[in-house]
C-alpha cells in the first residue's frame, strides 16, 4: 500500500526536521537544496519508484536512483533512512568521524541505498546512463532515475551525457533537474545564464516534462507519472522540476544564502516550529 497524500505530507515535515537537525548538529552541510528537493525525494521513494525489499548494489529487478548533486546529502540520507535502508538513529552521525553518512554520499562505507559517490558535480548522469544500459543488457525493464542541480548543468560532462543518451536511444532513464535558479555565488542567471533548459534538452532530442510546482507532492506524482509514460519510446526523458530552495522554512526561501549554511540554535527552533506534525514528530 502506498502512503496517501496526508501521510506523504507528514513525512515531508519529518524529513525537513531531519535535515535541519542534521546540519545544525554539525554546523555544516547544505540545507537549502535539501529542503527544496524534499517533496521530490519523498515522492520518488514512497510513491514513484518500484523498489525491492532489502538492498543490493546491482539493483536488478527494481528502479534505481542516482543523486548527482551530492551536496544535498541530508535529504537523501533522511529519505533513505525513513524508507528503511538503514536505522533512522544513524542520521545523528551525519558528517561525524567514522560515520557512514559522509558529507557527500559515498559507497565507500557501504551505506545501503547509495550506489555511487557524488559531490564533485556533473558525473551522475553518465553513471546513470551506464546503469540504464546495463538494465537493457540484463533485459530488466525498470527505470533509472536521477537528480541534478540546475547550476550543476554548467559542468560540461553533463552535455556529453545528454548528447549520448538521445543518440543511443537510452529511453529507460528519467533525469530530473532541480530548477531552483540558485547556486553558491548567486542566481544561476547571474553566475552563468543557461537560457531555456527546455529548449536545450529538446534540441538534444530529449522528451521534456515540466513540473511547475515542484514542491507540491501531488504535482510531482502527476508529473513523474507523465514522465514515466514517455519512457520506452526511444528517447531519454528530462523532468524540469521548479522548486524553491529552502522550501518550508520562511527565512531560508527566496535566497541562495542557505545553500551551504547551517542554522544556529535560535534559527533551528524557529524552523522546527514551522515544521511540526500535530500528530507527533518522530525525530531521530
Amino acid at each position: 500500500m502506498k502512503p496517501n497524500t496526508q501521510q506523504l505530507n507528514d513525512l515531508i515535515i519529518q524529513v525537513r526536521r531531519d535535515i535541519l537537525r542534521m546540519v545544525h548538529a554539525v554546523n555544516s552541510g547544505h540545507p537549502g537544496g535539501s529542503l527544496g528537493c524534499t517533496e521530490f525525494l519523498v515522492a520518488l521513494y514512497q510513491n514513484i519508484m518500484e523498489r525491492k525489499e532489502g538492498w543490493d548494489m546491482d539493483g536488478i529487478g527494481e528502479d534505481l536512483f542516482f543523486l548527482s548533486n551530492g551536496h544535498i546529502s541530508p535529504v537523501f540520507y533522511s529519505v533513505l533512512a525513513r524508507s528503511g535502508y538503514f536505522p533512522v538513529s544513524e542520521l545523528g552521525t551525519f558528517r561525524l568521524l567514522n560515520s557512514r553518512l559522509q558529507g557527500h554520499p559515498t559507497t565507500h562505507d557501504h551505506l545501503p541505498g547509495v550506489r555511487i559517490a557524488s559531490g564533485s558535480l556533473g558525473q551522475g548522469l553518465s553513471v546513470a546512463l551506464g546503469a540504464a544500459q546495463a538494465k537493457k543488457l540484463n533485459n530488466d525493464k525498470h527505470i533509472v532515475y536521477t537528480l541534478h542541480g540546475d547550476g550543476e548543468l554548467q559542468e560540461g560532462q553533463n552535455w556529453e551525457a545528454i548528447m549520448y543518451a538521445s543518440a543511443k536511444g537510452v529511453d529507460n532513464i528519467i533525469a530530473t533537474v532541480d530548477l531552483n535558479g540558485k547556486q553558491i555565488d548567486g542566481t544561476t542567471d547571474e553566475v552563468l545564464c543557461m537560457g531555456s533548459l527546455r529548449a536545450k534538452f529538446e534540441a538534444f532530442d530529449w522528451e521534456v516534462v515540466e513540473i511547475t510546482n515542484g514542491n507540491d507532492i501531488e504535482a510531482i506524482i502527476g508529473g513523474m507519472a507523465e514522465a514515466k509514460a514517455r519512457t520506452g519510446k526511444g528517447k531519454p526523458v528530462c523532468v524540469l522540476l521548479h522548486t524553491e530552495m529552502g522550501n518550508g522554512v520562511d527565512y531560508m526561501m527566496h535566497s541562495h544564502a542557505w545553500h551551504g549554511k547551517a542554522p544556529n540554535d535560535e534559527q533551528l527552533a524557529n524552523a522546527l516550529g514551522q515544521n511540526y506534525n500535530t500528530g507527533g514528530n518522530s525525530d531521530y
Partner: protein, 318 residues
C-alpha cells in the same frame, strides 16, 4: 645468460585486442567502451562478434568513464579503451570519484602510452599516467611489455575484482614472453638471475633490459633482470630479495621518473633496505615529435642508457 627469442614483433595493443576478443567469447559480462578509437585500440574483433556489448561513446572520455562505472551496477565488467593521455589525465576526477572512490569494477585500458607514440608529439605522449593512477587508493596499475603479456593481462583482469589501469603502447616491439605464461597480478617475473646488479624494467623497456644484460655479460657483469608488470600492488618481496643479493638497482620505464615505477621502488628500498638506485626514465620533461627509436635514443630510454646506468650504480656500491 638465459636466452630470449623474439617470436615475431607485434604491437602490445594488438595483444589487448586479441585478449578482448577471447574475453568476449568466454565471459558474457565483459563489455567494451571506446571513445572513437576502435582501430587504434584493436577493438574490431570484439565489436564484430558482440555488437550489443560494445559501446561507442564518441569523443567524450569523461562520459565514457561514468558510463563504465554505471555498467558495473548490474554486474557488467567494463573495459574502456582510448589513448593513455585521454584515459587518465583528461578524466582524473571521473576516475577518482566514480570509479576508484566508488570501488567500481572498471578496467581502464590505455594504448599509445609514453614517448613511443611517436610523431604525434607531446600533446599525446603522456609520461605521468602511472603516477596519476597509482596514487588512487585501491587502483591496480599494470604496464605490459609485449604482445603476449598484454593479452594475458587483459584476460586476467576480467577475473580480478576492482578498478584497474592497464597501460600498453602503439609501436611494434619484440614479442618474447611465452604465449602460455600465466599472468599473475602483483607478481614479478624473474627473467634472468644475476649477482652484480638488479635491473627492474616495465613496459617497452623490458626487452631493452634484456639486451643491456647481454652487453653487460660481455663486460663481465652479471645482471639480474626482473620484469615488474604490476606497479601497484608492487611485488616488494621480489625486489628486496634481489637487492639483498646484488646490492644495487637500476629501474627502467617509459615514464617520468617522478611518479613512476622507479619512485615506487625507491620508497620500498628506503623503508626496508636503502640501496643505490639509478633511474632510466624521462627526466621531468615533456616529449616531442619523432620516430619511437629517435625519441627513446634522445630521452635515454634504451639498452645503452641501461648499461650506462648500471655502470654508474655499480660505482656507487659500497
Amino acid at each position: 645468460m638465459k636466452k630470449y627469442t623474439n617470436t615475431g614483433s607485434k604491437d602490445t595493443r594488438s595483444g589487448f585486442g586479441v585478449g578482448m576478443a577471447e574475453l568476449g567469447q568466454k565471459n558474457e559480462n565483459v563489455v567494451a567502451l571506446c571513445a572513437d578509437l576502435i582501430g587504434s585500440l584493436k577493438f574490431d574483433e570484439f565489436k564484430k562478434n558482440h555488437p550489443e556489448r560494445f559501446f561507442q561513446i564518441g569523443i567524450a572520455e569523461a562520459n565514457m568513464i561514468g558510463i563504465a562505472a554505471g555498467l558495473t551496477i548490474g554486474g557488467k565488467i567494463p573495459f574502456t579503451g582510448t589513448f593513455a593521455n585521454f584515459s587518465t589525465g583528461r578524466v582524473y576526477d571521473q576516475i577518482r570519484q566514480s570509479v576508484a572512490y566508488s570501488e567500481k569494477n572498471v578496467k581502464i585500458c590505455a594504448s599509445h602510452a609514453g614517448l613511443t607514440l611517436g610523431e604525434d608529439g607531446a600533446t599525446h605522449q603522456i609520461l605521468e599516467d602511472i603516477g596519476l593512477m597509482k596514487m588512487l587508493p585501491g587502483m591496480t596499475v599494470i604496464n605490459t611489455c609485449d604482445h603476449n603479456q598484454t593479452k594475458a593481462a587483459t584476460i586476467a583482469l576480467a577475473d580480478h575484482h576492482g578498478p584497474a589501469y592497464l597501460r600498453f603502447g602503439r609501436p611494434v616491439v619484440p614479442n618474447f614472453t611465452p604465449a602460455d605464461e600465466p599472468f599473475v597480478i602483483g607478481k614479478a617475473i624473474m627473467l634472468n638471475e644475476g649477482t652484480d646488479v638488479t635491473i627492474v624494467a616495465t613496459g617497452h623497456l623490458v626487452w631493452e633490459a634484456l639486451i643491456a644484460a647481454e652487453k653487460l655479460e660481455e663486460k663481465g657483469i652479471s645482471a639480474e633482470v626482473i620484469n615488474i608488470h604490476t606497479i601497484k600492488p608492487l611485488d616488494e618481496e621480489a625486489i628486496l630479495k634481489s637487492v639483498a643479493k646484488t646490492g644495487c638497482i637500476v629501474t627502467a620505464e617509459e615514464h617520468n621518473y617522478l611518479g613512476g615505477l622507479g619512485e615506487s621502488i625507491a620508497g620500498v628500498l628506503a623503508l626496508n633496505n636503502p640501496t643505490p638506485q639509478e633511474f632510466v626514465a624521462v627526466k621531468d620533461t615533456f616529449g616531442e615529435s619523432g620516430t619511437p627509436e629517435q625519441l627513446m635514443e634522445k630521452y635515454k630510454l634504451n639498452n645503452q642508457a641501461i648499461v650506462e646506468a648500471v655502470e654508474k650504480v655499480m660505482a656507487r656500491k659500497k
